[in-house]
Symmetry: C2
Subunit: 179 residues, 2 copies
């Protein structure tokens, strides 16, 4: 991703944190992360601030733009420790989370075009502001923002994004910013 | 604590969550916790919502009224696991955290009257909205709200409040609500 593009996406994402009345420090904004998953398409991505990520605990604040999708993945066990456990709490807008399990008929979302085969989890959880859902380790999942976009808090065990396994083999989780 | 008093304190605390624009569900409000630490005085206490508390991760949202103090305590190791690690993130108002370590001269806060000897940690950390601080396990600490009161998010390992060790031996952490 080009630096200019990164800065534009960051500016847009910060508007959502304002809508959710979430206050950030300058340093957090400098370290703002834009994940494009190496796919270079606007409808797949995630914008986030990592508040803390120690060996035991992680907390993040995430933005998805209207209709944007965080692609399907799983958090495997690492170094003998159970996979990441995470709780998503909706702060603004609406988010639809899809997890492995009983398929929800007439789900609200569609997978990103041309990538349908990489979306296999179809049990839907719908979260409005104040609602939350805890994902047990080893649960395949993906999520998509409603039409207003969404702001989501994540409370979890340590984040080791580099170990995440995506259903789409073309995905690269760790972004590269080019000058 | 009498139920009537509990409900009054809860109503007052909910105003602070509104000021911080934090959205809660009805169920969370029903499970709202008012900790008076068994001391029956308004200047020592803590009001909180527990979002999630699994074996690995805990997240809470806390309110302290103007000048109110959460008394000094430590989170000991439990069942062979390190003590609780916690990150406090200020969302509204101002909070002063005091931890063991180099004493801060001219600290902003005073301990609750008559309880001075139970406040021994005097290294001050001041947090405004968007600022946060991570407490390592085994750090003695207490905190007090500034004059506007405060709302604080806590991200931590599992909470086992019943094991907390308070410097004041009269404190009972687990509250009793009487009808």
């Amino acid at each position: 991703m080009k630096k200019k593009e990164y800065l534009e996406i960051r500016e847009e994402a910060l508007k959502y944190f304002e809508k959710a009345r979430i206050v950030l420090t300058e340093k957090e904004i400098e370290n703002f992360e834009v994940a494009d998953f190496g796919l270079n398409r606007k409808d797949i991505g995630l914008q986030l601030i990592v508040y803390v990520n120690t060996d035991r605990v992680c907390a993040k604040e995430m933005v998805l733009f209207p209709g944007q999708t965080c692609p399907e993945h799983i958090h495997p066990p690492v170094h003998g420790e159970s996979g990441k456990e995470e709780t998503f709490r909706c702060r603004y807008g609406k988010v639809f989370i899809y997890v492995s399990g009983n398929k929800t008929e007439n789900a609200h979302c569609k997978p990103p075009k041309g990538n349908e085969s990489y979306y296999t989890a179809w049990h839907e959880i719908e979260l409005a502001p104040g609602e939350q859902y805890t994902l047990k380790p080893g649960t395949k999942h993906w999520f998509q923002a409603g039409q207003e976009g969404t702001v989501i808090s994540e409370f979890s065990t340590k984040s080791r994004d580099e170990f995440d396994i995506f259903t789409n083999p073309d995905i690269k989780r760790i972004p590269k910013i080019e000058e």
